[in-house]
């Protein structure tokens, strides 16, 4: 049983560019959450998707957007990249109506 997978593992972009990160949830999980983890910090909640809709959102600007597909996989899009967007982006999935989230290995984004 595959766990949560994310792609790519690493990414380098320049300021102003756009990026798309991808996540496939664990089998049987229908909810996907995205977190940003700056170096030396704890993860910060970006948003959560359920039934193809954004259900909750953290304190992140509209440059951060997402999508969830019918197979529950999800994308995180960031427009107009800033240097401060450099971070580890973590995807987590959870089964229906539960509180425990399982994390993927993350995507390391570097903005130059």
């Amino acid at each position: 049983d595959a766990g949560v997978t994310q792609s790519p593992t690493h990414l380098i972009k320049t300021r102003g560019q756009q990026v798309t990160l991808r996540c496939s949830p664990k089998s049987g999980h229908d909810t996907v959450s995205w977190y940003q983890q700056a170096l030396g910090q704890g993860p910060q909640f970006i948003f959560q998707y359920y039934e193809e809709e954004e259900r909750q959102r953290g304190n992140f600007p509209d440059r951060f957007s997402g999508h969830q597909y019918p197979n529950y996989s999800s994308e995180l899009n960031v427009n107009a990249l800033l240097l401060g967007d450099s971070a580890l982006y973590l995807c987590a999935s959870s089964p229906p109506a539960t509180e425990t989230q399982y994390f993927g290995p993350g995507t390391r984004l570097l903005v130059l």
Partner: protein, 115 residues
């Protein structure tokens, strides 16, 4: 707003010894869940243990156990017989009991197990 505080940025302990990591939190909710996650250098965030606030019994998972003090809003993690593979960042996290809610994390404790 819920907050999670980890006051020990770094800790180190000899292999086979016992170590306790501290976590305090603030919430106005009566029912909620608390977690400890481990993040080794590989970056993968791994669930170590979870505690349901309405359960008085402290959770245990093999060498890992918690001391949950609800009135004091304290949730410490004890690692017994520490192993080199326990070297990692440890994050305390909180969520409500409404199901599929966001996790609120502390800033983490970097634990090093010394051979």
């Amino acid at each position: 707003a819920q907050t999670v505080t980890q006051s020990q940025p770094e800790m180190s302990v000899q292999e086979a010894e016992t170590v306790t990591l501290s976590c305090t939190y603030d919430t106005s909710e009566n029912n909620y869940y608390l977690f400890w996650y481990k993040q080794p250098p590989s970056r993968q965030m791994i669930l170590v243990i979870r505690q349901e606030a309405y359960k008085q019994q402290n959770a245990t998972e093999n060498r890992f156990s918690v001391n949950f003090q609800k009135a004091a809003k304290s949730f410490s993690l004890k690692i017994s017989d520490s192993q080199l593979g326990d070297t990692a960042m440890y994050f305390c996290a909180y969520t409500t009991n409404f199901g599929n809610e966001k996790l609120t994390f502390g800033t983490g404790t970097r634990l090093t197990i010394i051979p």
